[in-house]
């Protein structure tokens, strides 16, 4: 819990630019998904992370390619931050044979094992024990990999979460539990789900695990916290739990905004929009060096182009043969 005080205020431009690139990529991919979703070609439930990119973007710069990660229904950002193939992700959203699951999973089931991204699952809390199992494997094989488990504030209400943290503590497993607290589970605010004044990270800390809390919309602060906790988990000190405050801008599932439903106020939304992790980081970069503005213009063009090509790739890819649905149910077929 004491990390906040120790955060190093030195601003590393190289790292900041990498994090910026991650945020910009995730944001732009998802904005384009939102724009194109009404075309009806991405025919699967889709949960966007727009507004929440700060945590995955900074995490990306703290982990290694062979570290494991698992995530949730809202997993695009984590997948891309780990280096998952953009073509394969969009192919999956479009249900194409080039998708990372050959069209068997959709947006909620993303995988790219070549970068240690082992999967996302659609049931709240479901992937948490899997991530712990990956850490157990790393411990048994005596590798120095860590396993990163993304979850939301809703998953903290699932039994699987407590069971998983407990076992990770008992076996001192190299796990990083990363909770993105965006205040809502679908349309249900924390106030109807958890007691008033509940401090999630303090509660979890009582289970015997090191914890830390941070502003998820301050990417450089996330980077500092993440760097230290990754080091702890990797050094054999046991698991670490991180809670980051953040906010999803768009509807729980789908491409639109949903403030008109009145489950949250316009004012709350606007307050969080002012904490945009992308703008915040850009301001920090330009304050440091005004000439970076021109560099970012160029980088944006390159990333936008890469995204355009990936959408084109996904749209032009063929569907799998309908007969494929009935194959490879078992691994020994």
């Amino acid at each position: 819990m004491g990390f906040m005080k120790e955060i190093n205020n030195d601003f590393n431009v190289r790292i900041a630019l990498n994090i910026w690139k991650n945020i910009y990529l995730i944001r732009s991919v998802e904005e384009k998904i939102a724009k194109k979703y009404p075309e009806g070609k991405m025919r699967c439930p889709t949960h966007l992370s727009i507004g929440q990119e700060g945590v995955p973007a900074a995490w990306s710069e703290c982990v290694r390619n062979n570290d494991f990660a698992v995530s949730t229904h809202r997993g695009h950002a984590h997948y891309l931050a780990k280096g998952g193939s953009l073509n394969a992700m969009l192919g999956e959203l479009y249900g194409k044979v080039t998708g990372c699951c050959r069209g068997r999973g959709g947006s909620m089931h993303l995988v790219d094992t070549s970068v240690g991204f082992m999967g996302t699952t659609a049931i709240v809390g479901n992937s948490i024990p899997l991530g712990v199992g990956l850490a157990l494997s790393a411990q048994l094989k005596e590798t120095d990999q860590i396993s990163c488990i993304f979850l939301g504030d809703g998953a903290v209400e699932e039994g699987a979460f407590y069971e998983s943290v407990n076992f990770a503590v008992v076996r001192k497993l190299p796990v990083l539990f990363i909770c993105e607290n965006n205040l809502y589970s679908v349309y249900s605010p924390l106030s109807v789900r958890q007691p008033k004044d509940r401090n999630i990270s303090a509660m979890v800390n009582a289970m015997g695990i090191q914890t830390s809390f941070g502003d998820g919309n301050d990417p450089m602060a996330v980077f500092d916290i993440m760097t230290k906790s990754v080091k702890c988990a990797r050094s054999g000190e046991g698991p670490f739990f991180l809670e980051f405050s953040t906010y999803r801008w768009r509807e729980h599932c789908g491409h639109s905004y949903d403030n008109h439903l009145n489950y949250r106020s316009e004012q709350e939304f606007e307050e969080w929009r002012l904490k945009d992790p992308l703008l915040r980081l850009e301001k920090q970069l330009f304050d440091k060096d005004v000439t970076l503005e021109a560099i970012l213009v160029q980088k944006r063009m390159l990333i936008d182009h890469e995204i355009d090509l990936a959408f084109q790739f996904a749209e032009e890819s063929p569907y799998p043969e309908a007969s494929e649905a009935y194959t490879k149910v078992y691994a020994d077929e």
């Binding site: 494991f68 698992v70 699951c101 050959r102 068997r104 999973g105 089931h109 995988v111 094992t113 082992m118 999967g119 699952t121 659609a122 049931i123 479901n126 992937s127 948490i128 024990p129 899997l130 991530g131 712990v132 199992g133 990956l134 850490a135 157990l136 494997s137 790393a138 411990q139 048994l140 094989k141 396993s147 039994g159 699987a160 069971e163 998983s164 407990n166 076992f167 008992v170 490879k328 149910v329 078992y330 691994a331 020994d332």
Partner: protein, 354 residues
């Protein structure tokens, strides 16, 4: 090393031998469950494993059935095989999310094998009652991606457990508690019985009795009795519930023309129901009588021995069904072996508590 010698062993000894064999063959395999390293070693099945293979590979676990199933899946997708055990199937119901949503779907969705074996022990009698006695193989068989194995002898238990462990898919391995002390000649060393193959445990040409797990014992008692009255029952032990050996069933029906399907689970939605349905569809013109089935009633199993009298499927029920199917005399029907006394234990070896 393969050793063709076969010695008389109990079901639990066979399970233990299979685990030792598998952990020796695969130096990464892990084995855990509540009580796996305690002094009783899950009815003796896991005794000695911790000493042989060490604490990191053989361990007791937190009372967290769901997460610990997910842990097995997570380790499996990184190449670590596991056998997890639950002393009653009923506790494992807490883990259905991991079993159904993850284990069964992982290979289909992500293309990565999940080589896990989940041993579930099913109780009966001695007051096990509503939540220590459920036989839910039909549930598991309903889920694509799972394999479901249900051995009836010590021999099959060893050969099928080794096949289950080295199968690249999630396997639910169901042990009936009433079989744990049963004895057969079991080879030492590594031997495998293929998953998905039924066995004719008694050939006959008049009626096919499709059975599984403990009900093979009752089917054999009934078949022995009926044989004395000139009715030759063919007893088929399914051994695997998913995938089920349809060719073996159809072949038997082609010779007998009659079917009685047994099930250790409740009647509605049972595996016996599936057997009757498929046989009716595929062998309709070969049937000489309407197929029948016998399963547990559609009520929870009560605890009191007063309430379980006559509750279980027994040899005399099997005889009655076959008598009705074949219009046999009332004398044959009434002379069938009756439920032993006491009725709520598999034999004198069982002194409870579970």
């Amino acid at each position: 090393m393969n050793n063709p010698a076969a010695q008389s062993k109990t079901f639990t000894e066979s399970i233990n031998e299979a685990l030792v064999q598998a952990m020796t063959l695969d130096s990464q395999m892990i084995c855990y469950g509540l009580g796996a390293t305690d002094p009783k070693g899950i009815f003796g099945t896991t005794l000695g494993l911790e000493d042989k293979f060490g604490k990191s590979r053989v361990f007791d676990m937190p009372t967290s059935e769901n997460a610990m199933t997910g842990v097995a899946i997570g380790a499996a997708i990184d190449g670590i095989r596991s056998v997890t055990t639950h002393q009653r199937l009923d506790f494992f119901l807490l883990a259905l999310d991991q079993l159904v949503n993850s284990a069964a779907k992982w290979f289909y969705t992500y293309g990565r094998p999940v080589p896990i074996t989940i041993r579930l022990i099913m109780g009966r009698g001695w007051g096990q009652g509503p939540t220590h006695s459920q036989n839910l193989h039909a549930w598991f068989a309903h889920i694509p991606g799972l394999k479901v194995v249900m051995p009836s002898t010590a021999y099959d238990a060893k050969g099928l457990l080794l096949s289950s462990i080295f199968d690249p898919n999630p396997v639910v391995f169901l042990e009936h508690r009433w079989l744990h002390n049963s004895v057969s000649d079991v080879p030492d060393g590594d031997f495998r019985i293929p998953i998905g193959k039924a066995k004719i445990v008694r050939p006959g040409k008049t009626v096919t009795i499709v059975s599984m797990s403990y009900l093979v014992v009752e089917a054999m008692l009934a078949a022995d009795y009926l044989n004395k009255h000139g009715v030759e029952c063919e007893v088929l032990d399914l051994r695997t519930i998913k995938p089920i050996d349809w060719p073996a069933i159809y072949y038997s029906i082609s010779r007998t023309g009659r079917l009685l399907a047994l099930d250790t689970g409740h009647l509605t939605g049972s595996v016996a129901a599936e057997v009757v349905a498929r046989v009716t569809q595929h062998c309709f013109d070969q049937l000489k009588a309407a197929p029948r089935r016998l399963a547990m009633p559609d009520v929870p199993e009560p605890s009191s021995p007063g309430l379980t009298k006559g509750f279980y499927v027994r040899a005399n029920h099997i005889v009655s069904e076959i008598c009705a199917m074949m219009n046999l005399s009332r004398e044959i029907c009434e002379g069938a072996p009756i439920e032993p006394e006491p009725h709520d234990v598999p034999g004198n070896w069982f002194k409870g508590p579970f």
